[in-house]
């Protein structure tokens, strides 16, 4: 019985094997053909792009040297635009020419930039971008937002604003960046309503974009109360970067925030924005914090601390964490003129580790 079953199984497996081998060979051939075909299509497209590139180069050159135009120049321009218009129904051409114009516009300002924008509008590329905003693929959407932003077509601001809380990370990142590009600090009002977290990356990007805009004294502290922790953190970074000393009290309130990352950012922020009372605020919360935050506080004491905090700092030198000791010692050395001296005195009376830390700090001060 078992023997018959086995012979039967062997028969089946023979045919299974044959099919499997045939399938593998067929797949392999398919892949090879596909690869060769792809290489061919790619080379054809590259040849086509050569012609496209001539068109885009002409347009960009015309934009760069725009002031002395005469009739002949105008005629050339008109014919180039016409050639481009004929090709514009081609999806790949559209992507190509929009990409070229956008990357040129990114690097250029002034009259030349304006004429690049004019070409962009003349070719009707903004209409296509607007259509792409409704695409179901996130990258098409995000690309459209980027394009409209760089081309500075402000009439679509409202459409772009609706995407600042899009479910796709990259779409909302581009839309938020667009708001800041168009309206500077006022563009940040999307922070009132976003429900998704702002990644660290996005915060860096927004800060970078803002640094190119004129500073403004908009109301930041309302965001300290946001339910979105990343918004609070971003607001703290804004306060720190723009030295908003008047927000000191609001920032100290963030030291009691329930989220550890917010508390950490608040400590970092007080490192730059501080008054005589800051040290007391930090010290009073020291024991409730984890080691990472304690280290941050010790580091902040270097700026914030003064002679009256020496007792606290000497206490820290007894802590088991070497990192805390190092920061505390550095803070002591900077707290007052006699700081280093009293540290030396302390070192002589206590154990080995402090003397190494002392040497380290002396070395730092010398360098």
């Amino acid at each position: 019985m078992a023997g018959r079953l086995l012979t039967y199984l062997i028969k089946i497996s023979w045919s299974v094997q044959n099919i499997a081998v045939a399938a593998v060979v067929a797949l392999m051939t398919c892949l090879l053909v596909f690869m060769l075909l792809y290489m061919y299509v790619k080379s054809v497209r590259e040849k086509k792009q050569h012609k496209w590139r001539m068109i885009s180069d002409m347009l960009i050159n015309k934009a760069i040297f725009y002031e002395d135009r005469d009739e002949i120049e105008d005629q050339i321009l008109a014919s180039v635009l016409e050639a481009a218009q004929k090709l514009i129904v081609n999806r790949y051409f559209r992507k190509f020419i929009a990409g070229e114009l956008v990357s040129a516009k990114k690097n250029i300002s002034g009259a030349s930039a304006d004429s690049l924008k004019q070409f962009y509008l003349q070719l009707g590329l903004d209409k296509y971008a607007l259509k792409n905003l409704e695409s179901r693929q996130w990258y098409v959407k995000a690309e459209a937002i980027q394009e409209l932003t760089i081309m500075h077509t402000d009439e679509f601001i409202d459409q772009l604003h609706t995407h600042t809380n899009d479910k796709n990370e990259y779409v909302r990142m581009e839309a938020q960046a667009a708001m800041v590009q168009f309206k500077g600090f006022d563009g940040l009002d999307f922070l009132n309503s976003i429900s998704y977290p702002l990644s660290n990356w996005q915060q860096i990007k927004l800060l970078q974009l803002l640094s190119l805009k004129p500073p403004s004294t908009i109301n930041i502290d309302k965001w300290f109360k946001s339910d979105n922790n990343s918004v609070v953190i971003f607001a703290l970074k804004l306060a720190r970067n723009y030295h908003r000393f008047e927000l000191h009290d609001a920032i100290t309130e963030c030291l009691d925030h329930e989220n550890a990352d917010v508390r950490y950012e608040a400590i970092r922020c007080l490192n730059e924005i501080y008054t005589d009372e800051t040290a007391d605020h930090l010290i009073s919360r020291f024991l409730q914090q984890g080691l990472k935050h304690q280290v941050a506080i010790a580091r902040a004491m270097q700026n914030v601390g003064s002679k009256k905090d020496e007792l606290f700092l000497f206490d820290l030198l007894k802590h088991e964490s070497d990192e805390l000791k190092l920061h505390a010692a550095r803070a002591l050395a900077n707290a007052s003129k006699e700081g280093l001296l009293s540290l030396e005195k302390y070192s002589k009376e206590s154990e080995e580790a402090i003397s190494q830390i002392l040497m380290h700090i002396k070395g730092e001060n010398a360098a």
Binding site: V24, I204, D322, G363
Partner: protein, 474 residues
Amino acid sequence: MSWQTFILHLFTYGILLYSIVILICYLLIGAFSIMETRSYLHKNSFTDYRMLASSTETPSMSILAPAYNEGPTIIENVRSLLSLHYHNLEVIIINDGSKDDSLERLIEAYSLYKADYFVNQRLKTKPVKGVYRSSNPVYRKLVVVDKENGGKADALNVGVNIARSDYFVCIDVDCVLEQDALLKLAKPFLEATTQRVIAAGGVVRIANSCEIEGGRLVKVNLPKQFLPRIQTLEYIRAFLLSRMAWTKLNGLLLISGAFGAFDREIVINCGGYNSKTVGEDMELVVRMRRYMEELGEPYKVAFIPDPLCWTEAPSTYRILGRQRNRWTRGTIETLRAHKKMFFNPSYGILGMLSYPYWFFFEFLAPIIEFFGTLGLIYYCFKYAVNWEAILIMIGVICLGILYSIFAIMMEVLTYHQYKQKRDILHLVLVAILEPFVFHPFVVWSAVVGNFDLLRKNNSWGEMTRAGFAPNKKI
């Protein structure tokens, strides 16, 4: 039924089952890799790395480069590390008790002086003999540590202790990095919101026959020698397919020891590199993942497929054999140290998928292949030619070739480093030759590795490298 037919059938069906499982794995890896690669490339097109390079808000990063007897090339290599684009950067060179004049060369070239430096010993290491800094402000990013010899893991632990940054990147000092390598490696950490990114792995590509000048890659060439060329294919397959697919599943276990970034806090919390294993790079990632699983916090190991790091591959069978032998031992040691996770559902993907995959395909596969082939040959000579089994084996080989060709296609479609049509043809040719020439040797080395480990022969297998002499074209 005689016992011979029984063994014959067991054998045939065993191989059949094995090949079906491999087929399914290949298909899944291919599919996941395509998905992950597409999404990565789309995301990358929206990333302005220049913006990141000039920002002062980026987290701090340290490069840890352990050096052991790298005298002839160390000056150039350090110079290229110092010129990487990143704002908050610190370059830590750890001289692991070199017997040559590496340290003296560094001191002279970068006007170093011995600094009073307090080393926070959060990880236990061999003693540090001195910490050197430059008196020239241009090299303020540079820290050179001189320590007693203790192996790569120990050297990296010293680096982790000395570093002051949030993240560190460990590299082999003789690797050639692209200028924007750190920016790309930093990105996953910055993008994390709901999951903590604990590590990010990079791709290692093969630099043999490439033109390298002053510690920088000038021109990419396909290696001219056979062994490095076949390893080029192997690396493409591993990085573009396998690791990409595992990243999609968030089950990546291995970050190349030659190039990867780590969250320093977590590395310290779980004890740093283990100097008792020869596979310290894999062991660390597994331990970090295990630590996060046990902590119950959401986390991720990221992977960047861009070719950012170029290194020289072994070009002789002797050195290659030693390298593979060491890899095998590292894998087994890591698996053994964390066997608790084997099919343990409380470790999620890590326990149910990643670990078993490594166990069956990285650890067992060479052994099965070796003894399977040996058994088949024996059987054919002793009794009769077992055509079924041979046919299945041919099928498996074809499958392997197909998989390699798919990898080459992914490379052409994504990064396309080897521009000439001839290069692609060469790669395909190599893919067809590999199962007959290269693969048996790799399997053999792995089997020897198993034996060596059984004999407790934990030698290091010092890798002699040709080295990139300045302005020398290789």
